[in-house]
Amino acid sequence: MTTTTYLVIAVVALFFLVIFQISKAAEYVSVLKGEEQSRKQTNKVNAFLMLGFMILGLFGVWYCNHLLYHKTLLPLESASVQGERVDSMLWVTIMITGSVFIITQILLFWFAFRYQEKENRKVFFFPHSNKLEVLWTVVPAITLTILIIIGLRNWFYFTGDAPDNAMKIEITGRQFGWIFRYPGKDKTFGKKYYKLIDDADNSLGLIWKDNAAMNLKDDPATHDDIITESTVYVVKNKPVKLIIGSRDVIHDVGIAQFRLKMDAVPGIPTTMWFTPKFTTKEMQEKTGNPNFQYEISCDQMCGNGHYSMRGVIEVVTQEEYDMWMIKQKPKYFAAFPDKDPANKKDSTVTATAVTPK
């Protein structure tokens, strides 16, 4: 430990000592001066502080908003069609809860100040009033009903079926990163089985050869599946349906700019769909941040590397997407280079190819 550390400890200790001494002295003074009188004085001070706290507090709420509002997602419109609904609902909720907050906090501290102990105040013996009770049962109930209706309409929209033209992408979480799979030309995801997972060449456990021991048959639909890691490409204005899974522990696909998230649970696939509104480039301009990326954050505690489990969604135009897709090679060819037409121009690769040894 350095001398500064000792110095800091000494100063803090001294500070505490002073507080104790003052507090002790205050007790002696109050006893000598007459306890009732000093109690009444303290009462006035605290009543005043209550009012002060309320005024400074409300100012603080405004100031905090002033400092931090532009750092949140709220000033920019949502980057997904679904997120717009989240935002509009958020604003209704802010308006309602915000006004309740301000009214009740003002009443609380104002009553505390206004009805502080006074010599000749006669308290109002007011044990109950059915009218008031009914009032503040019914009004919150009605307000909440409105919020529930808005909420559930959105909820069923978000969790409902994705449109038929939605692009399907499978996303799989692992400690600590994301694996993406496109179904390829046949638009079908080939079957997979977790016991075939091998980080060397089959990170998802695709069934692309017969396996007698596990009684599995080669699924030709796997042969054109395209697998990428950490970055996924999607098309602006085209709905995307994510089929979410996990290889190990529970993760969560969170995309803050789209206002959505969904858990990745091993053994139980989940889904989430959204329609991106702006390309990554457009967002870089809108935010004024040249490094802007749509980031996939893992939002469910998944181990010591949880905080670094980052994925990127590149939202691009249809042309850019097609250009990118054309360059992707099915993972099957990486595992079986002899099946790759680029390597063996003369042989035709068919789905019923014999199992490679």
């Binding site: 550390t5 003052i22 507090s23 007790e27 006893v31 009462n43 209550m50 706290f53 931090l68 750092k71 949140t72 997120g83 989240v86 909720t93 809860t97 906090q105 009443l107 505390a112 006074k118 006669k122 308290v123 109002f124 007011f126 044990p127 109950h128 009033s129 008031l132 009770e133 503040w136 919150p140 909440l144 919020l147 909420g151 959105n154 909820w155 978000f158 409902g160 977790y194 190990d248 522990v249 969560d252 969170g254 206002r259 998230k261 969904m262 858990d263 649970v265 091993p266 053994g267 139980i268 989940t270 941040n289 490094n291 939002d299 469910q300 505690m301 998944c302 010591n304 949880h306 670094s308």
Partner: protein, 602 residues
């Protein structure tokens, strides 16, 4: 006159020798202070153990806030202090960070705000306020504390194992918590965590059964259920909730123990962890979450209700005015208790839960806002046209209401699944539950300690220290948690060790530093309370008035130092409810006073 003499000169109230009571059985140090069967001593044991845990839990949060607030700074002195497992190269390690977060959550929720709060006040207040000599089963009550103590020892020992304490979050979701391969904290640390929690469940059940039996069977003559003070109602419902839900948590833990040690697959399926394929197939990781939240949601009410009860009592006493809407207050406690059993899956909206099922949980969750609103408005009306004395307990009670409003309103956001899908597991959530159940319940607990301290120890706390403690904690709580809503509105996920690689979340580095600094100040301020508490046990001013706050309830009819058995003579009879303050021009009318012939009726 010496200083001590100034403080201890008897005032107009004569100081009796209050130790006199009718049954003088011989008590040794062991039976009086260690294996005591006196509910008052057991409550103090719960309180002090809870305070030790609060100190540890708070210290853990200071350590992980150091990492969040000063991610680039190095703390070589911390390394000297804690060793290489926790701090490497001057920086808190990721593993240590997650261990800190997990242990902070576990001990504060279970050991401090469950055992420390309802363990203390249920034990202390139930016999004293209903007019009983002790709990229904003093022996079970003693066991309840010692099971808690054993749980504490096991949890504490987990901080020292080689692979570290459990580090998968206080919710302990499998597969992370089930598989040692997935995280070093899920090895021995998790075994100890489960043993500790199992012991804790036993402790809670022993305590809870006792509280319910005592309230139902041992009320004094005249103390009908509708004359019970609201504290007792709240503690009663708390105990009922605990009895109904802790066994479910226990069953969840048992299955987890089986999955960890005996090769079953209740929660495990399709796993490839750390380069190995696991044989488990067919389990459901989500099953655990249902079992866990079936307790853990009511748990937040187990934490809240005692605070609500004590706050109702303290607000009424110090406004010198009856609590407004007694029956509505009891009714809303009952409604909260029932509804709290039907909302657990609102923690699981984004697990892939059936959306229709989710919508039912939205409905029940938002319904809870109705009884909560009733309580807030009734508290406000209690203050209205009162004659308020700002005792330290009253300050914390008012602070509780303020925090409960602030944190409760954001529950309306998170309970609505379509907003939760955006805000789930972000800092918004952290701000919400820390305000509404963390800090607010702490305020309830502080209010209780300040209010009943003279009854507990026969001495008074220092008021100046108490007021400083209140104001710094109150301001600090808002400074820490209010800005976190904004981090949440930026989508910033919780439980991240470092945000610097994230383009979307790194803009809050400065704010995080500010929050961490406030955390350190608020934590340091709690030492004022601790000092005040322990110093006053021995050196505080002696209480001279057996009823220092002018309260109606029965505990203030006991001698200043009640013996084991509470009342030296007959147990007093009760003739009225507990809230006749300011009635018929009388400041207060104790429950023991018969209703006069000319008394007005309400």
């Amino acid at each position: 006159m010496s200083n001590e003499a100034v403080l201890h000169t008897p005032s107009s109230y004569a100081v009796h020798d209050d130790h006199a009571h009718d049954h003088h059985h011989h008590e040794t140090f062991i039976t009086k202070y260690v294996f005591s069967q006196d509910h008052k001593m057991i409550s103090k044991q719960f309180l002090i153990t809870g305070m030790v845990w609060a100190l540890i839990g708070g210290l853990l949060s200071v350590l992980f806030r150091l990492q969040l607030g000063y991610p680039d700074s190095k703390f070589p002195w911390l390394q000297d202090l804690l060793g290489k497992f926790w701090v490497e190269d001057g920086r808190i390690t990721a593993q240590a960070y997650y261990a800190l977060v997990t242990t902070h959550g576990t001990v504060l929720i279970f050991f401090v705000l469950t055992a420390g709060l309802s363990g203390t006040f249920a034990n202390f207040l139930i016999p004293l306020q209903i007019g009983a000599r002790d709990m229904a089963s003093p022996f079970m009550n003693m066991l309840s504390y010692w099971f808690f103590f054993a749980a504490s020892c096991v949890m504490f020992s987990s901080l020292f194992v080689e692979t570290g304490p459990f580090s998968g979050g206080w919710t302990a979701y499998p597969p992370l918590s089930a598989l040692g391969q997935a995280s070093p904290g899920s090895k021995t640390g998790m075994d100890l965590w489960l043993i500790s929690m199992a012991l804790f469940v036993v402790s809670t059940l022993l305590g809870g059964l006792n509280y319910v039996a005592t309230v139902l069977n041992m009320r004094t003559k005249g103390m009908s259920m509708t004359r019970l003070p609201l504290t007792i109602w709240a503690l009663f419902f708390t105990a009922v909730l605990g009895i109904l839900t802790f066994p479910v948590l226990f069953s969840g833990f048992i299955l987890l123990i089986f999955d960890r040690n005996f090769g079953t697959s209740f929660y495990l399926s399709d796993l490839y962890v750390n380069g190995t394929v696991l044989p488990n197939e067919g389990g459901s990781a989500i099953l655990y979450q249902h079992l866990f939240w079936f307790l853990a949601h009511p748990e937040v009410y187990i934490v809240m209700l005692p605070a609500m009860g004590m706050v109702s009592e303290i607000l009424s006493i110090n406004s010198r005015k009856p609590i407004f809407g007694y029956i509505a207050m009891v009714g809303s406690l009952f409604a909260i208790t029932c509804l709290s059993l039907l909302v657990w899956a609102h923690h699981m909206f984004v697990t892939g839960l059936n959306p229709f099922l989710g919508s039912i949980f939205v409905l029940f969750t938002l319904l809870i806002a109705v009884p909560s609103a009733i309580k807030v408005f009734n508290w406000l009306t209690t203050l209205w046209r009162g004659n308020i004395r700002f005792t330290p307990a009253m300050m914390f009670a008012i602070g509780f209401v303020s925090l409960f409003i602030s944190g409760g309103l954001t529950g309306i956001w998170l309970g609505n699944s379509a907003l939760d899908i955006h805000l789930h597991d972000t800092y918004f959530n952290i701000a919400h539950f820390h305000l509404v159940m963390g800090v607010a319940s702490f305020f309830g607990m502080f209010a209780g300690v300040y209010h009943w301290y003279p009854k507990m120890y026969g001495r008074q706390l220092n008021n100046t220290l108490a007021y400083i403690h209140f104001w710094v904690t109150m301001i600090g709580a808002y400074l820490i948690f209010w800005p976190m809503h904004y981090e949440g509105l930026a989508g910033m996920p919780r439980r991240y060790y470092d945000y610097s690689i994230w383009e979307s979340f790194k803009q809050f580095a400065e704010l995080n530093r500010f929050i961490s600094t406030v955390v350190i100040i608020v934590f340091a301020t709690q030492f004022l309370f601790l000092f005040n508490f322990f110093y006053s046990i021995f050196k505080g001013r002696k209480a001279t008035n057996p009823n220092p706050w002018g309260a109606n309830t029965l505990e203030w009819t006991t001698p200043i130092h009640p013996g084991h058995g509470n009342w030296p003579g007959e147990i007093p009879e009760v003739h009225r409810w507990a809230y006749d303050y300011g009635k018929d021009d009388r400041e207060f009318i104790p429950q023991t006073e018969p209703v006069g012939a000319n008394e007005s009726h309400h």
